[in-house]
């Protein structure tokens, strides 16, 4: 039972982290950026390359990894998405372009690193600490601590600082904030950079705990997106509730059936919400046709 709670809270902290990344990305540019999934994988694989390949210390490798993956995410915005936004293409066009980008990055990773499972852990099997009847490893404790502090830091930035207020302003109404002299283009870059940073941190935390393969980012990204959608894509409290609901359901499914059904359960919950609670737990209206 304790073990279940530990497992839920670890997945919960990762999902929340990815969820904020998705939220930052979605609220500023209004489309689901599937290439964020590749940012998660990329950060982990860059860290792997710097740490194992170039034999840099783990901490420096992690920083370099996050830096590189964030640079690629910002590069994609500058080259692809900014152009598409200026031409005012519909959101699904950007989504499909991001799908193309995801395919390119994911296959580049398997081209350079191969498809076999890689790991950042130094020892083969890490023996966990026994706390209140549950095993928890050092990297899992790190996951909890790091994601909690990152979450609080991002919340503080978005709610209190001028930068955060500006980002919230452009996500509410970009045209109006343009009129008030807020430079939305550079702010979107900042928001995307923050989102990529968060996704990268999440990716590295996952890879410290479990093995990674070129496609591992996709499932965690979908978890984050679903948490964001069922929370109503509106506020952070909703996001926490959505993420908690989702991960609890996933782990209950894993406990009573098997871990392999976790992805299917996540989408099942999404569909249930789309039918019965289309406004999400947070209360904001989902985008759909009203007739």
């Amino acid at each position: 039972m304790m073990q279940l709670i530990v497992n839920i809270s670890i997945l919960f902290s990762i999902t929340t982290l990815v969820g904020i990344a998705c939220f930052l990305r979605y609220s500023t540019t209004k489309f689901f950026d599937l290439s964020q999934a590749s940012t998660i994988s990329l950060a982990a694989y860059f860290t792997y390359a710097f740490n194992i390949g170039l034999r840099l210390p783990l901490l420096i490798a992690i920083m370099m990894g996050i830096l590189c993956s964030t640079a690629i995410a910002i590069g994609a915005e500058l080259i692809v998405y900014r152009h598409m936004r200026r031409k005012e293409f519909p959101p699904f066009a950007s989504l499909i372009a991001s799908l193309g980008l995801y395919t390119v990055v994911q296959n580049s990773i398997s081209l350079f690193f191969g498809d076999d499972a890689k790991t950042l852990r130094s020892a083969d099997v890490e023996v966990g600490h026994m706390i209140a009847g549950a095993y928890i490893t050092n990297s899992q404790i790190a996951t909890l601590v790091v994601s909690l502090t990152t979450f609080l830091a991002v919340l503080l930035i978005l709610q209190r600082s001028t930068l955060g207020k500006r980002i919230r302003a452009i996500s509410d109404n970009r045209q109006l904030s343009d009129i008030y002299g807020i430079n939305s283009s550079s702010l979107i870059l900042v928001a995307i950079g923050m989102a990529a940073l968060l996704a990268g941190i999440a990716g590295i935390l996952i890879s410290l705990d479990v093995d990674m393969s070129p496609t591992f980012g996709f499932n965690y990204y979908l978890g984050g997106v679903i948490a964001m959608i069922i929370s109503g894509a509106g506020n952070y409290r909703g996001l926490i509730i959505g993420s908690a609901l989702l991960t609890t359901a996933q782990h209950l499914a894993a406990f009573f059936m098997d871990t392999k059904w976790m992805a299917a359960v996540a989408f099942f919950i999404l569909i249930l919400f789309l039918i019965w609670r289309p406004r999400g737990v947070g209360g904001q209206r989902l985008k759909k046709v009203e007739v």
Binding site: F92, S108, D115, F267, K288
Partner: protein
């Protein structure tokens, strides 16, 4: 020779898949990422019926089509309300649930190993032994479906679908039923995909979940997009292009696994390029360029 015939069969298969997806993605504006799942349902139904009960092709084909249609109508009954990117996420969900059923419901589908030993296609009077006759069957089927889809898009129903893709609220306000049109279009498209699935199972002799992943859905969607949305000829040209180019890459002497990755990278890049030009496919590209030359 057999190799070229195999490529020809693949081109026919993907033309069929792309044209059926075009009915929803191109005509109605419902971009779906669940198409590989639906054709997988068709393939699995035929495979299971053939292996477990030894049914003939002509009995399992309609059943496969019906099963895929039922699945598709359930999906669209839930998802029809959502538009644009939310609809894509819904169909992505459907794709992942279908794949996870194929991969994880081991008692029924035998999981990742797949179902093998499916009897090859048989006809009452004629036994297609060679690959050539299978190519002829596929071409006949493609022509049949092509004509059907072309007539459908010219009919009143096709016009309604185009109206929905242009302005859903307006289509509803002039008395067109948005709900039923969307459900019918989506179900029909999945059913056509299932025909292909049934043929695929009988052609390959085995089915396993790796043929029906999200990557395959993306591949089919990129054929439609590269060919140009709502353009049946474009879907055909794009499938010729997308199937033959990687085969050419193979002749360059790249190792098998490298070639597969390179292929995906090239397609991803093409997809980004096409979307950056506003979703104009190859046919439109050539058309505008030839106009510029004149």
């Amino acid at each position: 020779m057999d190799y070229f015939l195999h490529v020809a069969v693949l081109i026919c298969f993907y033309t069929l898949l792309a044209q059926s997806l075009d009915l929803v993605a191109g005509k109605t504006g419902m971009v779906s990422l669940a198409h590989a799942g639906f054709y997988g349902i068709g393939a699995y139904t035929t495979a299971l019926l053939t292996v477990l009960f030894g049914t003939s092709f002509w009995f399992s084909l309609p059943l496969s089509v019906i099963v895929a249609g039922v699945f598709a109508s359930v999906v669209v009954a839930f998802a029809w309300r959502t538009v644009d990117d939310y609809f894509i996420m819904c169909t992505l969900g459907a794709q992942i649930i279908i794949y996870s059923l194929m991969n994880n419901w081991i008692k029924f589908t035998q999981g990742p190993i797949g179902i093998s030993g499916i009897a090859k296609l048989k006809f009452p009077f004629w036994m297609p032994k060679s690959s050539l006759s299978f190519v002829l069957i596929s071409i006949a089927l493609v022509l049949l479906i092509w004509t059907l889809l072309r007539n459908l898009s010219r009919s009143g129903f096709g016009k309604t679908l185009m109206a929905i893709s242009e302005d859903e609220v307006y289509a509803q306000s002039i008395g067109k039923s948005v709900y039923s049109s969307k459900v019918v279009a989506f179900t029909l498209s999945a059913m056509i995909a299932a025909i292909h699935g049934a043929l695929f199972a009988r052609y390959m002799g085995l089915v396993d979940p790796s043929s029906f992943t999200i990557n395959d859905s993306i591949f089919i969607l990129s054929i439609v997009i590269i060919g140009g949305m709502g353009n049946l000829m474009g879907s055909f040209l794009a499938s010729v292009f997308m199937i033959t180019v990687p085969e050419l890459l193979r002749f360059l002497g790249l190792p098998q696994n490298l070639a597969a990755n390179m292929r995906q990278i090239v397609f991803g890049a093409i997809l980004i390029g096409v979307m950056m030009r506003g979703g104009k496919g190859i046919t439109e590209f050539f058309r505008s360029n030839s106009r510029a030359l004149r």
